[in-house]
C-alpha cells in the first residue's frame, strides 16, 4: 500500500512529464477550488474583522489581491512549469545542489507542520462545542485548559495515523467533501447576512442598502481588536496576494502545472482564489462580525462555535472536515519533505512523527490566532527560492550565465543561491525590524523578490567566473 502510494505521488519525480500525461484546464479548476477552501479560511475571515477592516478595504483588497495571485501563477510559475515540466524539488536540485535542497526541504517541512497545526486547531474548536471545555481566546498564545490539550491531541493523533495509513482514503473523502464544503461556506454567509439584518433592524431591499449594512455593521473599519495589526486596503491586497506566495512566486506549484497542457491553464487558480479566498473568507468574517455585534466582549475566534450557531451540526461537520482534509495532505507533504532528508526512515514513521509535531504546534493557539502574520512569514521564507528559479530560467541565458549550475558543476551547494536565499531573508527581517509601516511583514516580500533575484545574479557573476554558458 505504502509503496503503491509512493509510486502514485512520486510520478516523474526526476524526469519531465511526457506530453501524453498532461491534463486540460478542467482538471485544475476542481483541484484549486477544493484545496483553497480549507479549515484555515474559517480563521482568516474573522481575523480580518479583528484587524478592523472596512467594507471597501476588504472587498476591494480581496478582489485585487486574488487577481494578483492568479496573475502570479499565470506569468511567473506556469510558463516555467510547462517548459521544464519538472518538480520544484528536482529543478532546485539542478540549480542549488543537493545539500541546499535539503535545507529547503527542512524549512518547507517545518512550515507545513505549523500550517497543519493550525488546521488541527480549527478542527479541535468543533470538539469544544460538544464537550464544553474552555477554549483559547484571541489573545491566548499558550494552551489554556486540559480539555483543549486533549482535544487537539485526539484530533491530531487521528489525523496523523490516517495520513500515515490512508492517504488515498482521505483524498477520496476530500474530493467528495469539496463541493459540499464550498456550499456550506456560502450558506454561512447567507445565514450571517440574514441574522445581521434581523439584529440591526436594517431594511435591505437594494444593493445600496446592502452596501450600507456592510459599511456600518459588518466591516466597520476603525481600530483593530487589542493585539491585532490594523488592516488597510493594502494589507488585505498583499495578504491575499502573498498568502500562497510559496506556491506561485515561490514556485512550489511547478510540481502541479508541469502536468498542464498549456501555460494559461493556470487561470484555474482563480477558482481557488475567488471561491476560497474571497467568498469563504467573507462568509466566515460575517459570522465573526455578527458575534462581535451581539456581544462585543466575545472576541474569541473559534470556528467551531461560529459554524454551529449558523448551521448546527452541518456547520460542525464542515469545521472538522475542512480542518481534517486539508491537514492531512499538509502533514503528508511535510512528511515527504522530511523524508527527503532522512530517506532511510520509513514513510510511515516520518508521517507519524510529522503529525505529532503538527499536533504539538496545534496545541498552541498562538499560530492560529496569529495566522495572518504566520502565513506572511511562511511565504517570505520560501519566496527567495522562487526568485532563484525564475532568474535562473529566464535571465541567466540572456546574461550569458550558466543555468542549472549545481548540476553542471556537480556541486552539493550553489553558494550564489544559498547567499541569495539567506541574505534576502536577513535583509527582509532587517527591514521589518525598522518598524516602518511600508516594511511590515505583509509587504516586505515584494522588495524581497527583487533583492533575491539581484543577489543571485551578482553572486553568480563571481562564482561562475570562467564557466562557459
Amino acid at each position: 500500500m505504502a509503496e503503491e502510494q509512493q509510486e502514485k505521488h512520486g510520478e516523474f519525480e526526476r524526469e519531465p512529464v511526457p506530453v501524453s500525461k498532461t491534463k486540460g484546464l478542467k482538471a485544475f479548476v476542481g483541484m484549486y477550488a477544493g484545496e483553497h477552501c480549507a479549515g484555515t479560511e474559517l480563521m482568516i475571515g474573522p481575523l480580518f474583522v479583528a484587524a478592523g477592516v472596512s467594507a471597501f478595504d476588504v472587498l476591494g483588497g480581496l478582489f485585487l489581491g486574488n487577481l494578483l495571485a492568479v496573475l502570479s501563477w499565470m506569468f511567473l510559475c506556469a510558463p516555467i512549469a510547462v517548459r521544464a515540466r519538472l518538480t520544484l524539488y528536482y529543478q532546485l536540485e539542478k540549480i542549488c545542489g543537493r545539500h541546499l535542497v535539503t535545507l529547503y526541504n527542512l524549512a518547507n517541512g517545518v512550515m507545513f507542520c505549523f500550517l497543519a497545526g493550525s488546521m488541527i486547531t480549527v478542527s479541535a474548536t468543533a470538539i469544544g462545542v460538544w464537550f464544553h471545555f474552555p477554549m483559547p481566546g484571541l489573545g491566548d498564545l499558550l494552551p489554556n485548559s486540559v480539555g483543549w490539550v486533549l482535544a487537539v491531541l485526539a484530533v491530531g493523533a487521528i489525523i496523523s495515523v490516517v495520513a500515515a495509513w490512508g492517504y488515498d482514503m482521505v483524498s477520496k473523502v476530500a474530493n467528495i467533501a469539496a463541493p459540499w464544503m464550498v456550499l456550506v461556506f456560502l450558506g454561512f454567509g447567507i445565514i450571517g447576512l440574514r441574522q445581521f439584518i434581523e439584529v440591526t433592524g436594517a431594511q435591505v431591499n437594494s444593493l445600496g442598502s446592502l452596501w450600507e449594512l456592510c459599511q456600518t455593521s459588518i466591516w466597520k473599519g476603525g481600530d483593530p481588536l487589542p493585539g491585532q495589526v490594523k488592516f488597510t486596503f493594502w494589507h488585505v491586497t498583499f495578504f491575499a496576494w502573498f498568502c500562497n506566495m510559496a506556491m506561485h512566486v515561490g514556485m512550489s506549484d511547478l510540481s502541479v502545472f508541469r502536468f498542464a497542457k498549456k501555460s494559461w491553464h493556470s487561470v484555474a487558480s482563480a477558482s481557488g482564489m475567488y471561491v476560497g479566498h474571497f467568498m469563504a473568507w467573507l462568509a466566515a468574517s460575517i459570522l465573526y462580525a455578527l458575534q462581535l455585534h451581539m456581544d462585543p466582549s466575545n472576541t474569541d475566534v473559534l470556528p467551531g462555535p461560529l459554524a454551529y450557531r449558523a448551521a448546527g451540526v452541518a456547520g460542525l461537520i464542515c469545521v472538522i472536515v475542512a480542518g481534517w482534509t486539508t491537514a492531512n495532505p499538509t502533514i503528508y507533504r511535510a512528511g515527504l519533505a522530511f523524508q527527503a532528508i532522512m530517506p532511510k526512515v520509513s514513510r510511515f514513521r516520518v508521517t507519524i512523527f510529522t503529525g505529532l509535531l503538527a499536533t504539538l504546534a496545534g496545541m498552541f493557539p498562538a499560530i492560529a490566532m496569529r495566522l495572518l502574520g504566520f502565513v506572511a512569514i511562511y511565504g517570505l521564507i520560501l519566496m527567495p527560492m522562487g526568485a532563484v528559479v525564475f532568474t535562473d530560467f529566464w535571465i541567466f541565458p540572456k546574461l550569458g550565465l550558466k543555468q542549472y549550475y549545481a548540476e553542471h558543476k556537480k556541486i552539493a551547494i550553489n553558494w550564489a543561491a544559498a547567499i541569495a536565499w539567506i541574505a534576502t531573508l536577513a535583509i527582509c527581517v532587517g527591514l521589518v525590524k525598522t518598524g516602518k509601516p511600508q516594511f511590515q511583514i505583509f509587504f516586505v516580500a515584494l522588495p524581497g523578490w527583487f533583492i533575491a533575484s539581484a543577489l543571485y545574479i551578482v553572486v553568480s557573476k563571481f562564482t561562475q567566473k570562467g564557466t562557459e554558458a
Binding site: 474530493n175 467528495i176 459540499w180 456550499l183 448551521a311
Partner: protein, 59 residues
C-alpha cells in the same frame, strides 16, 4: 441505480444552499435551516460516496 443516487446527491447538495436561502427569505426559521442542512449533509455523504470519483469501467 447509480443515476438515481447521483440525482439524490445533487438534490442534497442543492438543499445545502437552498435552506440558507429560504432562511434569508424568512420562509423558514434558523432551527429548520440547521435541520435541513444537517439532513442534506448526511444524504450527500451517504450517496456521493457510491458514485463520485469512481472511474467508468471500459468494455
Amino acid at each position: 441505480m447509480k443515476k438515481v443516487l447521483e440525482i439524490i446527491s445533487y438534490l442534497a447538495l442543492a438543499l445545502i444552499v437552498v435552506a440558507p436561502s429560504l432562511f434569508y427569505a424568512q420562509k423558514i426559521d434558523l432551527a429548520m435551516n440547521k435541520l435541513l442542512m444537517t439532513s442534506a449533509t448526511v444524504v450527500w455523504f451517504a450517496t456521493a460516496i457510491f458514485w463520485m470519483g469512481r472511474e467508468k469501467k471500459e468494455g
